[in-house]
């Protein structure tokens, strides 16, 4: 293994871990803020460090600190298996985290003739890995729920388990449809496929090529991650907090974070399989490499406009009325952020200018493109996470039996039918 | 590294499964012991696919895994059924094979 390979491996691992872990507070914040906005209130926005509030994101870090410092408490009726009781959330969390590790966030880099995948786990059977590891997560839920010795927890765990069993089938079947369409198990190759065009002009995104399977996949993943409208494992009005009822402090936090990581992973899988992954439509890696100058110029034009708009928006919103005596450092935060953003923009502009017109460095170009793809990936990921959140706060929950009926009566036959049709088309086109 | 270690592991896993089947009365443990024995066979096939360098043994493993799944479905349905009748998970309570005294 060359130095570059090791370096890339380490970098991708760190990047993946950061993507998975750092998005948790952001997602928590987003969830709370969007919920608040939908419910016509503001949400958390006061917590700050030296006046830095970052729109309230800091609140999440405060929550983490709170949960970490809380007393490790076991309900007294839990006599045996406390170790497993504690281990259960860890299982859920680590399964979700592990599942994220196969998502590619940029195209394969070719350094010195060696193809290096920008995946934390550079495997060529990503979707299988996701299906395999994703199934383990629910075991933590079941163990935790059973060991709580509590009816609510037991019911929640049982519901979660049966949800996974029933939605694993349409999920797996729709995944098989995509595997048949893309003819690969590799996420990276799937993204490559989607960078082409479908019917000549449409981007060959999974959601366009296989709309039915795409919708089934999205619904199944919603159910798998226990997000609304499929929140059956917990429910304040029925079974309190479900399987988490007896879990406190960091044990609870593990479940909580596991849920967000799972959601994140689900979003990543959805955008990788259905929405072109790290690619923009019509702009495949080859296109970008061959037309690098144009690409750099475009970014050089778009970036200042976007930064200007963002700074103006921030300055407008991050101010207080004159009558308030202390602004709590808002003016200072705004100032610092403005300067930082402008500096960032300038640096980027300079770099791009250099790369586009003065340097003839393919590796640097490739790295730039990879960074750009990473950016695209993150934006898509966050956009889909926001979609998840909006769905949660706008759609009412299904009843448990309705959920099961949807899974078994509609999604399963539909996905089977879809497989049949897909196979017929593939065989027909192939011959 | 040779396959002898794998063979030893296969033998041990199989034997543990066998011990579980005959010495435990809990139906769940019996069930999982049976599954363990089958899994040991799966491992044996996987090892052979390496020593013989052929995918056929892997296919056998895969089919064994499928059989494990089928067995799971039936065994668990039977456990539920027996539990509904007996209100216990004790395999010793299932004595309908015993002939009534003449």
């Amino acid at each position: 293994m060359s130095t570059a390979a090791i370096l890339i491996a380490v970098v991708s691992f760190v990047l993946a871990a950061l993507l998975a872990l750092l998005t948790i507070p952001v997602l928590v914040w987003l969830e709370r803020r969007i919920a608040s906005l939908i419910q016509d209130r503001l949400g958390p926005n006061r917590t700050n460090i030296f006046g830095f509030r970052l729109g309230g994101v800091v609140q999440s870090f405060a929550d983490v600190v709170k949960l970490l410092l809380k007393e490790e408490y076991y309900p007294s009726h839990i006599k045996m298996g406390r170790w497993l009781f504690m281990l259960a959330p860890v299982i859920t969390f680590s399964a979700a985290l592990l599942a994220f590790m196969v998502i590619p966030f940029a195209d394969t880099l070719v350094i010195e003739g060696e193809a290096l995948r920008l995946q934390a786990l550079p495997v060529s059977f990503g979707i299988l890995w996701y299906l395999a590891i994703g199934a383990i997560g629910v075991l933590g839920v079941i163990f935790g729920g059973w060991l709580s010795h509590n009816k609510y927890a037991l019911l929640g765990a049982a519901r979660a388990g049966s949800m996974v069993i029933s939605y694993e089938l349409p999920l797996g079947l729709s995944v098989i449809t995509f595997v048949m369409t893309y003819n690969t198990l590799d996420f990276n190759a799937m993204v490559q496929y989607q960078s082409g065009t479908f019917l000549g002009f449409l981007p060959a995104w999974g959601i366009i090529v296989q709309p039915l399977a795409g919708i089934i996949l999205i619904i199944s993943l919603f159910a798998e991650t226990n997000r609304n409208p499929f929140t059956v494992a917990e429910g304040e009005s029925e079974i309190v907090a479900g399987y988490m009822t007896e879990h406190t402090a960091m044990k609870f936090a593990m479940y909580f974070m596991g849920e967000y990581v799972a959601m994140n992973t689900a979003s990543a899988v959805i955008i990788t399989m259905l929405f072109g992954g790290y690619q923009l439509p019509y702009l495949s890696t080859e296109t970008l490499t061959t037309h690098f100058t144009t690409f750099a110029l475009a970014i050089m034009i778009v970036l200042p406009i976007f930064l200007t708009l963002f700074i103006r928006w921030m300055r407008k919103n991050n101010s207080v009325r004159k009558s308030v005596s202390s602004d709590g450092g808002r003016a200072f935060e705004t100032k610092v952020l403005t300067v930082a953003l402008i500096t960032f923009g300038l640096v980027v502009e300079m770099l791009l200018l250099y790369l586009a017109f003065f340097a003839e460095e393919p590796l640097a170009n490739a790295l730039t493109i990879a960074l750009f793809q990473l950016l695209v990936f993150v934006v898509k990921l966050m956009a889909f996470n926001i979609f998840f959140i909006i769905i949660r706060w706008t759609v009412p929950r299904f009843r448990y039996d309705q959920v099961q009926r949807l899974g078994w009566h509609y999604l399963l036959p539909l996905s089977l039918l879809n497989i049949l049709v897909t196979a017929l088309i593939i065989v027909g086109v192939g011959s | 590294m040779s396959a002898h270690l794998f063979f030893l592991l296969v033998a041990l896993l199989f034997s543990i499964g066998l011990v579980g089947v005959i010495s435990r009365r809990n139906l769940f443990v019996v069930y999982m012991s049976v599954e363990l024995m089958l899994s040991a066979i799966t491992l044996l096939f996987a090892t052979l696919s390496q020593t013989l360098n052929s995918a056929n043994a892997s296919v056998m493993s895969l089919l064994t895994i499928a059989i494990i799944a089928a067995e799971a479905a039936l065994f668990l349905a039977m456990i539920i059924h027996l539990y509904r009748i007996n209100r216990t998970l004790d395999s010793e309570q299932c004595t309908s094979l015993k002939q009534e005294a003449l």
């Binding site: 298996g81 060529s124 | 543990i16 799944a69 009748i85």
Partner: protein
Amino acid sequence: MLELSLFFILALFTLGGSITMVVSFQPLFSAFGFLIAMLGLAGLFALLNNQFLALAQIMVSVGAVVILSMLTIMTVNAQVQNLPKEPHKFIWLILSSFLVAPITVLIYTQLNTLPATLKGAETITAKVIGNALFTDWVFPFEIVSILLLTAMVGAIVIGRKHLLDTKACS
């Protein structure tokens, strides 16, 4: 050397998990032991360059079998008072181990007569298995599909409540 140590770690997991499974009083801990054993087994498959089998093992044994058995445990709500009292469990275990020991030795000695050189030239991916499965092994594959279908139908029939009228046990 790395492989050997990996093997020992995984074997330790597998054996430890299976022994936990056999020894535990609560079916839940047995299931946990089984889970560990299956994960270790999946790791061993991966060590044998058999990536597809490893993932299939996780998907089926963990994703389906363990979860299903957990669900069954929850369905029957096997509380302590419903579990069989096994006062002489360890005596049974030790006695049956003595019974099984010669079988183990026999199996091991007989397995050692098989070819034991790990060639490891080829990674057995899904493609390889798929090719083998749909060319030489189509018939067994279909048979296994029918077996699975039959098992499913059988499970549904057994699981239905009206069967309660027919006393299967005592």
